[in-house]
């Protein structure tokens, strides 16, 4: 049985959905950050799959951009979280609503 491209795409979709649902239902900020990473990597997987299907290296190149952005995002996100934890203990996402308009 050959593993066709559609399997990878389906896997990517499942991972992405897990990420979305996780982001929406969990309140722990660290977990939410991990869910975002999951979504980014799901899209990376989809990129690579389609790049393979179309024999187009462009999709693989995009992955590098996503990786870089993801790394930067993690740096900034973690820094924010660390500074939040310094101010208050055990904050959840729902407690952080000071951006209310």
């Amino acid at each position: 049985m050959t593993v066709s491209v559609s399997w990878y795409v389906i896997l990517g979709a499942i991972l992405f959905t897990i990420g979305v649902v996780g982001l929406l239902v969990r309140r722990n900020v660290l977990i939410m950050l991990m869910c975002i990473e999951l979504m980014l990597n799901a899209s990376n997987l989809t990129f690579v799959s389609f790049a393979r299907q179309h024999q187009d290296v462009g999709g693989q190149a995009d992955v590098f951009f996503v990786l870089v952005v993801a790394a930067a995002e993690v740096v900034v996100g973690l820094a924010i979280i660390v500074s939040i934890f310094r101010k208050r203990l055990g904050a959840t996402a729902d407690d952080l609503s000071s951006m209310k308009g």
Binding site: L24, V25, D94, K100
Partner: protein, 640 residues
């Protein structure tokens, strides 16, 4: 030989650039001598060019020196080219000749001024611009010189810019000239649109083939430009105010450069003008109005230089009468002789001002004849020449213009003759007030606020100036006496200037009735009687008493209120417009628009801020929901 034409404008230009770099270091009087030598050099170049042009005949006397293509824009090609033909060489000869004398005079006149080298930079640039103007082979080069002359006049009129009046006068000259320059520019646009070239040779050969209306428009627009430079009614106010500049500048502006540019331009375009009789009539009418209005204003001025200023305006009016009547040679003849005697009068007036420690009020002079005999003699010659007393230069040149006017229309001639009487009268009045009568000045020094020259605080001891000032004055006096020799009317062979200029000029439409020689004699006798009569009346009235208020009405002293009218119409309404802009348009319209935009943004923001809950997960849900909806929309549109 005619290749020397290029050197005529280049020498003073290079000298000006040299003095910009080294003038301060060379100081006084060396920088003045260099400037004088440069202009003298361009006179020599003019003479060489003239000899070269004399070597060929008729139409071959037009020599064009191409240097490079200045503006290559598609089919619009403007050459940097200079043209040596009888007209431009005549102009170059008298411009550079008279300017040399004025430069020499300035060395002594400007002695002690703290900006001595700067003055000569400006003078050189001025002369260079004027020479570019007259030698240009197309309208754009002429315009280049035209603007150069304009900017130099601004520098020189407001040379003593610490005096508020001088600074204002400079600005006025600049602005009035810019207004008129619009006419010149429009004329060039129209010429290029209808003919496709700005070269004089092309314009002249194409003139008979373009429509009469276009031709008239080109000429009238060019004349509007000329009205500014040559100070024609109603744009002459700046020339009277230009008296705020140092006297040599006045002499340069009035005699050799600047104001003659307008007349030159019209004569240069005479082949076009000859085909547009409507435009010619317009020019004649403006000319006669200017000549009379300015001469009348000149009878009531009390500033020694302002009389001369209005006299220049009036004489320029005469030149335009000549141009409009088709007497182009007479216009140039009058221009050249006018350059001699007006430079003479200004330099003599400068000598008086110099001797009187910067006093310019005629009512504070008197009895200077014994103290400044040479100046008085020179001024007398100038008076006789400008009045047109035979055999002085003005008699022949003004006679030619009046003859041209007579051949067109007897009323124009009559107005010209009346103005000639006025001319003789106001110059006589000036001569009597300055040199005759009782002494009306003190030897004690008058403390002046803005006196710049070193001799300002000394006692007043009027005296004839030194050789650097007196030499040019006497030379010009000689020229003012014999200038008529250029174009004597007695026999065809004596009309030297007419034969010489003929190839450059258009052929005037045939006169309504050519005057017979007996009529010419009668006209000449009338001219002479009027000139002598005007002078005698002035002598009888003004040589004894210096106050005749009834002969100096206020409306003539303020030059027919033309400046005041311009002020009321243009300046007042302009100020009102500015006030309306400041009080109404700015706060209501502009601020209203700006505040309106702010209010819209504020309103929208207040409405939308409720959406921002601040809960990260709710916003993530909105994003996710939005993405799903978008994907569905794309999918449905894609037929899936």
């Amino acid at each position: 030989m005619e290749h020397a034409v290029i050197f005529i404008p280049i020498i003073p230009l290079v000298s000006a650039l040299f003095l910009i770099s080294f003038g301060k270091k060379l100081g006084e009087p060396l920088s003045g001598w260099i400037a004088t030598l440069a202009v003298g050099g361009s006179f020599v170049a003019s003479v060489i060019t003239w000899i070269g042009v004399l070597g060929s005949h008729g139409i071959d006397r037009t020599f064009i020196q191409h240097l490079f293509t200045w503006l290559p824009v598609g089919s619009f090609q403007v050459q940097m080219a200079f043209q040596a033909d009888p007209l431009s060489v005549t102009m170059a000869l008298f411009v550079s000749g008279v300017s040399t004398l004025i430069h020499l005079y300035s060395i002594e006149y400007m002695h002690g001024d703290k900006d001595f080298p700067k003055f000569f930079i400006y003078l050189n640039l001025f002369v260079a611009s004027m020479l570019i103007l007259v030698l240009g082979a197309n309208l754009l080069i002429t315009f280049l010189g035209w603007e150069g002359v304009g900017v130099c006049s601004y520098f020189l009129i407001s040379f003593w810019f610490e005096r508020p009046k001088a600074a204002t006068a400079g600005k006025k000259a600049m602005i009035v000239n810019r207004i008129a320059d619009v006419g010149f520019l429009m004329a060039m646009f129209l010429a290029f649109q209808s003919i496709g070239s700005l070269n004089y040779s092309n314009l002249i050969s194409a003139a008979p083939h373009i429509s009469h209306t276009t031709l008239t428009a080109i000429v009238v627009l060019a004349f509007v430009g000329a009205m500014g430079k040559s100070a024609q009614f109603p744009l002459f106010g700046w020339l009277a105010d230009a008296m705020e500049g140092p006297t040599p500048v006045s002499a340069l502006i009035h005699a050799a450069t600047m104001v003659t540019a307008g007349v030159f331009l019209m004569v240069r375009l005479s082949p076009l003008l000859a085909l547009a009789p409507g435009a010619a009539h317009f020019i004649t009418i403006i000319g006669i109005i200017t000549a009379f209005v300015a001469a009348a204003a000149g009878t009531s001025q009390n500033d020694i230089k302002k009389v001369l200023a209005y006299s220049t305006v009036s004489q320029l009016g005469y030149m335009f009468i000549g141009v409009g009547s088709g007497a182009y040679v007479a216009a140039i003849f009058l221009m050249v002789t006018h350059a001699f005697y007006k430079a003479l009068l200004f330099l003599s007036a400068g000598s008086v001002i110099h001797g009187m420690n910067d006093e310019q009020d005629l009512k504070a002079m008197g009895a200077l004849r014994a103290l400044m005999p040479m100046t008085a003699l020179a001024f007398f010659v100038g008076w006789m020449a400008i009045a047109g007393v035979p055999p002085f230069a003005g008699f022949f040149s003004k006679g030619d213009v009046l003859l041209g006017a007579y051949q067109q229309n007897i009323f124009i001639w009559l107005a010209g003759v009346i103005t000639a009487g006025l001319t003789s009268y106001y110059m006589g009045r000036e001569f009597c007030l300055a040199f005759l009568g009782k002494r009306r000045w003190e030897e004690k020094p008058k403390v002046k606020k803005a006196a710049r020259s070193s001799h300002a605080a000394k006692e007043v001891h009027p005296h004839d100036p030194g050789f650097k000032m007196l030499g040019p004055i006497l030379l010009l006096a000689g020229l003012a006496v014999i200038g008529g020799l250029l174009n004597l009317p007695f026999a065809s062979s004596l009309k030297v200037l007419e034969h010489w200029l003929a190839p450059s000029l258009g052929i005037a439409p045939t006169p309504l009735h050519a005057a017979s020689s007996s009529v010419q004699w009668v006209l000449a006798v009338v001219d002479a009687i009027v000139a002598l009569g005007g002078g005698y009346i002035a002598f009888a009235i003004w040589s004894k008493k210096s106050k005749h208020p009834e002969l100096e009405p206020v409306f003539l002293q303020s030059a027919w209120y033309i400046d005041a009218t311009g002020n009321a119409v243009v300046a007042k309404s302009g100020t009102r417009l500015a006030e309306i802009s400041a009080d109404v348009i700015e706060p209501v319209v502009i601020d209203g628009a700006v505040v309106g935009v702010v209010n819209i943004a504020k309103f929208v923001g207040v409405g939308l801020h409720k959406i921002a809950s601040g809960f990260v997960r709710r916003e993530a849900l909105v994003i996710a929901g939005g993405t799903v909806i978008l994907l569905l929309a794309v999918g449905i549109r894609g037929g899936w």
